[in-house]
Amino acid sequence: MNTGDLSTLMVWAAATAFTVALIAYSVDLAHIAERSQKTAQKSSQKAMQPALVTAGGGPVSAAAGSADQRAPGRSVRAEGIARSTHFVGIALLFAGIVLRGFAAGRWPTGNMYEFTLVGVLVATTVLAIVQRRRIIAFLSVVVIGMAVVALVVALNFLYIKAEAVQPALQSYWIVIHVGVAISATGVFTVAFGTSVLQVLKSYREEGVLAGASANPNAFKRSVSGRSFSWLDQVPGGRELEAMSFRLNSVGFVLWTFTLIAGAVWAEHAWGRYWGWDPKEVGTFVAWVVYAAYLHARTTRGWSGRRASYFVFVGYFVVLMNFTVINIVVPGKHSYSGL
């Protein structure tokens, strides 16, 4: 077994660890949902006897350090398993990427397989940082789910042998430009998950206030209903919005840097800083959409939930830019060779 094979094995192991983490996070989410439903039922039954409601929380809060860290309904065991396998997955993936770099004798961001590995590493690491104090099971299910799918797709369809790259890619800019682009994609991924959660949560907050059954829109009614009661355990809509904004800000700054670094490299390698290559167009479009998001946040009538729709569009463009543009549209970036 050579270094390249060992790297592949590590990536498979990481995918396995993330799958376990995904299951554990899902179990946690299911627990939260189940407990929230029961609490909702109980509280509606006990609404007549307010004295009894306060007695409920004793054993749960005793088990956890503070009420803020573990809301009632969280499965301590599932969260422990999820967190540890999540960390193990990050470590294995990191090792896989480093070994890949040694096997190829260069910085490991030379093709789509390697982009995907590093992107997943960044996304899962950012996720770990975001929930360092408090696990947000739904966000983890979204992000880790996408990470597992991305890793398996990379291993099965994007994999190519570890080897050197062609002269146009032999530049230190491959570390700076490509590395930052992938990091930005990873950060945008977590931000996207946060925005999805924010939209659901804000619909629910609104629906619960207005009275769930009153809403004529089926989606809004169902979000406000019992099947989404696990949403009561996630941070509030405003808090999620702030988190999504912070992540998107970091992503946007990294993306801007990607554009500038890419232009500098293009000037070195291709003799022009900007040539409307399909990849350049895709990156530009994504940049403009995220810029629109930042503007929408501060525009009256567009802040909050409506601004987050720009995040959905922007992230869609980022994904298209990575997949369709690389694979389908011929351009100067196509040589990254799948």
């Binding site: 002269p167 000037e267 390698a269 003799g271 167009v281 503007h295």
Partner: protein, 560 residues
């Protein structure tokens, strides 16, 4: 202008309530506002955030067609193919600019409007911001109860002295930049012995925001200036030969409208040698290096190298290595034995294994002989394939390990005197006939290096002296490059500052205590930040603690 409220990545603490932004607000259009009224309305619309948002999204959408259809600026040949393949749809698309998206009227209109909108929004904001920077921080509000961060404490020191101390604490600089004050501070005597200190930080945030937008304008102007002043030339240089930097020596040359051809620095460049390396398994290229001799005007010849990603600086321009290939060195004699063609002819590589196609035209034959031309392929490393018609050859490796020339012969009129410019890499076969053997099959010449082969029909002979290399060079000069880079970096710095610099206001009030605090000073504090700011309360606590230092302890929960 008194109604002005800034928009954009706004840092105003109040909610934006600009009239034309609000959907509920009455439309500013009333009857009889006249032309100036309409213009003012249009200007207000254009500079509003809604329209900016709309234009941003339009710009994003308008950029997409350029990835769907081939673009003339990048791939004219693909556009031509598309037009041939789609005879009905193609011309329609061409008319609406689908093949010239980024120079089309509609695309330009969108980004120019966007920039007008940006300037119209940013300039008034800059004015407001400058006034804000020069002004005093806003006064401490009467009540602190509604603010997200609060604190309180008591002290034995007089209010005025505490106010001075708080001013000092707030003005203390950052750890890394100790001379830059963190807060702009204003202490006031509120009467009755009460002092209030108001501090504000984060002007940098709006400064960054304005810098970002203004830098974008600078970037656009730089790019446009570069377009007007640039020049770009492409040429093929064969090993052992050179070229001089003048407009005529390029194969293709394009320049901006304001570029003066006499400003070309007449340096010369000669290709001495070319090295290439390929992966033996995947055939992928691994390294290309061109060794050249450059002579700047009035200077000594200098040995330089050009590689991919390592352009050469010469004559104020950059020379890029864009392509390479082989140029067989051939000596051709006509029927009378006169040398009619001698030298290396570039054969253009067609694929990964450098199957290279080329043409040798022989117009200057003697003795009334017909003109003839050779067209065929150079295979750098040949592989013999047996076919029913005899051996055929393909290239199996891009390096010149076992080169071979496979040529067809045409005779007749090359058409060089028709007045129509010809492509040197194509043979105009209209007035020519392919030379065939007795069976009627086209004659195929197979020539190895060092070999001399007689041409059919007694046309003469060809000698393959050896294989030389050629490089395709791209020379470009854009005087705006440094400005583009500076503005891009300024925009980046401005963006990062505008998104990450925290904007906070802190107020402290020092009042003479009554009742149980009689004789002491009661301190209350409040903080406000732009957006959710996790660092606000800790900072307020720090300021309070530092102010009350020397024995006094603050208590956040309220006085006991």
């Amino acid at each position: 202008m008194s109604q002005y409220r800034p928009e954009g990545i706004s840092d105003v603490f109040t909610e934006p309530t600009e009239a034309h932004e609000s959907p509920e607000a009455p439309k500013p259009v009333v009857q009889g506002i006249g032309l100036s009224g309409w213009l003012r309305w249009a200007w207000r619309q254009l500079t509003s955030m809604r329209v900016a948002l709309l234009l941003l999204m339009l710009l994003a959408v308008a950029a997409v067609p350029g990835t769907v259809w081939p673009q003339r600026a990048q791939h004219p040949e693909r556009v031509a193919t598309y037009l041939t393949d789609h005879p009905t749809l193609g011309p329609v698309l061409d008319r609406i600019g689908a093949f010239n998206v980024y120079s089309s009227v509609w695309f330009s209109a969108i980004y120019l409007l966007l920039f007008v909108s940006l300037v119209g929004c940013i300039l008034p904001r800059t004015k407001v911001h400058l006034a804000g920077v020069r002004g005093r921080p806003p006064r401490a509000p009467r009540r602190f109860g509604r603010f997200p961060a609060q604190g309180s404490g008591t002290a034995d020191v007089a209010p005025q002295e505490l106010a001075q101390r708080a001013t000092g604490v707030l003005r203390r600089g950052w750890k890394l930049l100790p001379f830059v004050p963190t807060y702009r501070v204003d202490a006031r005597d509120e009467g009755d012995g009460t002092w209030a200190v108001a501090g504000e930080r984060g002007y940098l945030r709006e400064t960054g925001n304005l810098l970002f937008h203004l830098a974008l304008v600078g970037l656009l102007i730089s790019v446009a200036t570069g377009q007007v002043l640039h020049y770009r030339g492409q040429m093929i240089v064969v090993q052992g030969r050179g070229f001089a930097n003048s407009e005529g020596s390029y194969d293709t040359f394009e320049r901006g409208t304001a570029f003066a051809p006499n400003s070309l620095v007449p340096f010369t460049l000669k290709l001495d040698d070319f090295e290439s390396q390929f992966d033996p398994d995947t055939l992928a290229s691994r390294s290309f290096t061109a060794h050249v001799t450059v002579t700047e005007p009035g200077g000594e010849p200098e040995q330089k190298t050009i590689r991919v990603n390592r352009p050469l600086d010469a004559g104020g321009a950059k020379v890029y290595l864009q392509g390479n290939g082989y140029a067989p060195d051939l000596t051709i004699k006509d029927a009378s034995g006169t040398v009619v063609s001698d030298g290396a002819t570039p054969f253009l590589p067609q694929d990964q294994v450098y199957t290279s196609k080329g043409v040798v035209k022989v117009p200057d034959v003697t003795g009334g002989q017909e003109q003839f031309g050779l067209i065929g392929f150079l295979l750098p490393t040949k592989k013999t394939v047996q076919t029913p018609n005899g051996p055929a050859y393909v290239s199996q490796f891009p390096a010149p390990n076992d080169p071979i020339l496979v040529l067809n012969v045409w005779k007749g009129n090359l058409g060089l005197d028709t007045g129509v410019p010809q492509n040197v890499y194509q043979l105009d076969e209209a007035r020519m006939a392919q030379v065939k053997d007795a069976k009627g099959d086209p004659v195929v010449l197979v020539v190895k290096p060092g070999e001399t082969v007689q041409l059919p029909d007694g046309l003469g002979s060809i000698t393959f002296n050896g294989l030389k290399r050629f490089v395709a060079l791209d020379l470009r000069h854009d005087p705006a490059l440094p400005y583009i880079l500076v503005f891009a970096l300024l925009a980046f710095a401005g963006l990062a500052t505008s998104l990450f610099a925290p904007r906070r206001r802190v107020w402290l009030r020092f009042a003479v205590g009554h009742d149980e605090h009689a004789g002491r000073t009661v301190v209350t504090a409040a903080g406000l930040a732009r957006g959710d700011d996790v660092g606000l309360q800790p900072e307020l606590d720090r300021v309070l603690a530092a102010t009350l230092a020397a024995g006094e302890t603050p208590d956040r929960e309220g006085t006991p």
